[in-house]
């Protein structure tokens, strides 16, 4: 009887430890969010690096002892994010170590690689993912993610001719090499790249708008050209 009580106590304690693993991850997630919003802390390199190191260490351990796959992933991706918060050498080492770990396990998982690029979108990470993955959709995402700053510049109207060339060449490469690969939202990469090229080169003031054929919200088919002869405001909208 006594033995049994002891066993139950042990099991309870063990499960509490396991739970606290997940709890640590959630807690650190909140702490990182708060830290990012704290301008004073973020501008104090030493303070934020110190915190980041403690978070990374805790998360690394949490990943190692995680019982479930998702728990492990959450800890690793958050560790990767935390390792980018400071700029000192030790954190840089962690950054490489965590990335290597992540790539050794998840390089072909398009969604997870999307998250990885979301937390560390530097060139080194993109190149490492590109080299590690066998998944064409992930490779396309690497190339595409490289273009974000160029798209932003294009929107503001200050894209240099050199950057424009890079933008067009990279989109053309995505079309050619990965056009039939499907992205995480079910679109062909070829269509994504073609749309961006079209917006840049053809959807301009003075050019004729391309046809749209589709169905209205009641399911009735119609075409944009049905409205020739009228002034038309085309409004890409959503209720959010």
């Amino acid at each position: 009887m006594r033995k049994r009580t002891w066993l139950i106590a042990c099991l309870l304690a063990a499960s509490a430890v396991a739970r606290s693993g997940g709890g640590d991850v959630d807690k650190i997630k909140e702490e990182i969010r708060a830290a990012r919003a704290d301008k004073e802390l973020m501008s104090d390199a030493k303070a934020i690096s110190g915190k980041a190191k403690r978070w990374v260490e805790t998360l690394w351990d949490a990943a190692g002892s995680a019982k479930e796959a998702e728990e492990r992933w959450n800890a690793l991706i958050l560790a990767q994010e935390a390792s980018g918060l400071g700029a000192d050498k030790e954190l840089a080492k962690w950054r490489g170590k965590i990335r290597t770990k992540i790539l050794s396990e998840y390089a072909d998982d398009a969604k997870k690689m999307g998250s990885l690029m979301g937390v560390t979108s530097d060139e080194e990470t993109r190149n490492a993912i590109f080299a590690a993955t066998k998944n064409g959709s992930v490779k396309a995402a690497c190339l595409y993610s490289e273009l974000s700053p160029l798209f932003a510049a294009a929107r503001k109207g200050d894209l240099s001719s050199e950057d424009r060339k890079k933008l067009e060449e990279t989109l053309a490469r995505i079309q050619k090499d990965f056009g039939n690969e499907v992205d995480t939202r079910n679109r062909k990469w070829g269509d994504v790249a073609a749309g961006r090229l079209r917006a840049m080169n053809d959807l301009l003031v003075g050019k004729v708008a391309p046809e749209i054929e589709g169905k209205d919200l009641d399911g009735t088919p119609f075409k944009l050209s049905d409205y020739r002869g009228k002034v038309v405001v085309l409004d890409f909208w959503g209720n959010w």
Partner: protein, 102 residues
């Protein structure tokens, strides 16, 4: 955004004008009550169940919502990204052009 568009559509109801939406809500059944509540009477293409990743917005390379194009009666793009008063002004300018050319 809906009140402005509603008033634009109401003001120009007898003019050669149409507001055409491309709606990117993935779940139509959740959108239907909103149409009624907000009195969204103008016609929209539906971008499909993938929502903002649907075929029309993808073909147009749209990455931000709302995205606005104003077309003249020939279907030529004349203004991009005009909102609020600027949208009204753009439409009024094109309607005035149309009157002169007739």
């Amino acid at each position: 955004m809906f009140p402005h568009e509603r008033s634009l559509v109401a003001r120009l109801k007898d003019q050669p004008f149409a507001l055409i939406g491309i709606n990117s809500d993935g779940k139509l059944e959740e959108l239907k009550p909103v149409l009624e509540k907000e009195q969204i009477t103008w016609r929209s293409f539906w971008n499909g169940p993938e929502g903002t990743a649907g075929p029309i917005s993808t073909a147009w390379g749209v990455t931000g919502w709302p995205t606005i194009y104003v077309l003249d009666p020939k279907g030529t793009i004349r203004y991009i990204g005009v909102r609020g008063e600027a949208m009204d002004e753009a439409v009024d300018t094109l309607l005035a052009e149309l009157k002169v050319s007739k």
